[in-house]
Symmetry: C2
Subunit: 426 residues, 2 copies
């Protein structure tokens, strides 16, 4: 693997800007990688090599202005694209051609990126497993729902790709596939043109292989090169947040988190044990109530009128939601709001939290997918979370390290995780 597919988005964009690399050459190398790997990894729902190459050649002919000029990007297939089919992971909508690009796709085009293609998503970003396989061991799961994007980035098909998270759909596949995954504060990026799962927590984010790329991609999304700029920021204090679920994590996960804490300590950071008030333990269940209630309303059309094309997993979710009362739904949202209001105080001493990502390494395809018990409640808290690639675990698979920050404090949060990424790499 010596081609340009190996480059980060930041490196590739720099070389293209300087004239030492063309977008066509970069996209060609990425396509060669995809050609070699896709039969095993199944990361792509729709990819027309000629279409991507034509975009690349057009970028090469234009002035390199945007932050991602000429860099290929993967787009999760719940995100509308005007010039490529959008299937939402559902067999009902194989042939849909949306009348517009989603706002986030337009942001990429404004930044000069090349749309490589559409990546596999679980059905409607829900709980029905999709076809992608873990690039580190194709007998193993990628984690859902942004599975194709995480696999494609981890496997060097593209340097960056969109994901979205309602429960655990960015952090989990990032942890299992071994790449950086960033779920920003709720509301950071526009969701127009993205099919909703549950609006109370639906959040657009992205995958990359380095923190530099996560930040560059965020800048491109916002059209703002000053976002989280200024370089790595040393945290004063890191909270080790085991959560009430700590005992349910595998030994490899526990060891990875504790090792990271120890190494940050050796790097001179004050690492303290961080425990949530007991009320926070109910957030994981509350997220499931919210998700089911909202999904039941959202997918009423498919459930009522297109039932044959809906998976049993999705139908069960709608039924669970219809069995969830308005009172239960409101109680879950009220709990979330109470906990959100406590967060600034809880984070007044420790600016950033270290916590497990997935509860175990990627399971085999035929094994249960796990509960995302270290991920879901952050979604309901609306705070930014990010997966860094940790050590290889006892199964030989990547183990993720999750970091969490304060709501809408994404700029400092990203700079601090960039500092931690560098510290842990030493």
């Amino acid at each position: 693997m010596a081609g340009a597919e190996n480059l980060t988005a930041s490196e590739a964009a720099k070389r293209i800007r300087e004239g030492s690399l063309t977008s066509e050459a970069l996209v060609t190398d990425c396509l060669l990688r995809i050609e070699a790997r896709e039969p095993e990894v199944l990361a792509w729902q729709y990819l027309d090599p000629e279409q991507a190459l034509a975009e690349a050649r057009a970028r090469d002919k234009a002035a390199a202005g945007g932050l991602l000029h000429g860099v290929p990007v993967g787009v999760k297939d719940i995100i509308d694209t005007a010039d490529r089919p959008t299937g939402y992971g559902s067999r009902l909508y194989d042939e849909v051609r949306p009348p517009w690009d989603a706002a986030c796709v337009t942001a990429m085009r404004r930044a000069g990126a090349v749309i490589m293609g559409k990546t596999v998503t679980s059905e409607f970003a829900g709980f029905h497993q999709g076809k992608s396989r873990n690039p580190h061991d194709t007998k193993r799961q990628t984690g859902f729902s942004s599975m194709g994007s995480a696999a494609a980035v981890a496997d060097f098909h593209v340097p960056v790709a969109f994901g979205s998270q309602t429960g655990g759909s960015i952090i989990k596949p990032a942890s299992h596939c071994g790449c950086v995954g960033y779920k920003p504060s709720y509301g950071t990026f526009s969701l127009r043109g993205i099919n909703p799962l549950a609006q109370a927590t639906d959040t657009l984010g992205h995958f990359a292989r380095t923190m530099d790329d996560v930040i560059l991609f965020s800048q491109a999304m916002l059209g703002n090169p000053d976002f989280a700029a200024g370089g790595a920021l040393r945290p004063n204090k890191v909270g080790l947040c085991r959560t009430a679920e700590w005992d349910t994590a595998s030994d490899s996960v526990k060891a990875a988190v504790e090792d990271a804490a120890a190494r940050l300590g050796k790097a001179g950071i004050s690492v303290i044990e961080f425990a949530f008030p007991a009320e926070f333990e109910k957030l994981n269940d509350a997220l499931l109530d919210v998700l089911a209630y909202e999904a039941a309303a959202n997918f009423a059309y498919e459930y009522e009128f297109r039932r044959d094309g809906l998976s049993d997993d999705m139908a069960s979710l709608v039924e669970k939601g219809r069995g969830t009362s308005l009172e239960t739904y409101h109680a879950a949202l009220d709990l979330a709001e109470r906990c959100r209001r406590m967060m600034p105080d809880l984070l007044s001493e420790t600016e950033i939290l270290l916590t497990p990502s997935a509860e175990f390494e990627a399971p085999l395809l035929e094994e249960p997918m796990g509960r995302s018990q270290f991920i879901r409640f952050w979604s309901l808290l609306h705070v930014p979370v990010l997966n860094l690639v940790g050590p290889v675990g006892s199964l030989g698979m990547p183990v993720g390290l999750q970091f969490a920050g304060g709501f809408r404090g994404d700029q400092d949060f990203l700079r601090r995780t960039a500092w931690i990424e560098a510290a842990l790499a030493e």
Copy 2:
């Protein structure tokens, strides 16, 4: 006007259930009314009489189970319908046929309603005026953006219709056209399949001619006949909320609000003056910042790549949003959250507030459309608001009375406004 188009949804549903009216007869009378009035009122973007009649006949053949069985409903044309074009008020999307019904349309079908057609919306529910005219004086405005729905309901084309509000898009046309308009607490009804304007405040609601119908429609939306059931609820204390903008209201508006307060007082209700803390005065401007920032992200595709099909009003909104910094946007959202947190305390004494709706009666078509200064900030507060039809003003046009309640307290709020509706009718 003696036909069934005169019936409320509640009356019509009852008669259909009892067998003394068919859906076909009801829809036929509504279509006759539309045929007579539509050339002047221009409430409908898309209406195929045969399609609506076919739906009505199908309802007549089926068992009357749903709460709105056989009752025709108007659907604002930013809401997706699988079997009718959806234009979003934009000349870019005349021919769009969405692959699905929006969640709210499915809820109506589940309740047995007949989809009459699509009602006129301003472009993307934004600030560019649409074609509908005020049914009380077709030289006058309807108010935007849910203009066709408000006009259609007020003019007896349909008893109920969908609206949506981001700034003032339900309360204002309800006030100008003279019907009941209800914007629920933020997040009450699913927005899947509704094109967003600004997600921080986008809220689905509806128009009707009576509070009974508003409640029945809400029950149908939630599939829950117990929602806000139990009949009218006498408020203990009503707050007269003039707001800092009071002096900008027309004399007719001031007189209508003060007269309503006096009549509630005579009905034995304790009416007290209610004043917000000074910080709330910034909410109107904050809403405009939020709306512009989010709309700029949402409509990037049209602005970048379909500019010729976008109105100058919409392009200006995108440009304003692009000139709004992330800091300004966050400051506006932070202000909104601080004010929201104060609301339960502020409403601890007065359960419901009375305040102006629009600042004046419906202007002439060529006059400025007004600022919605009595409406916008409620949208940012996320609380339920409702327009009741007040007296005729000095221009001979309806004057609205706006009521506001506590967040997610919609059930009691609706029952209290039902009590007030009856009290003011005496």
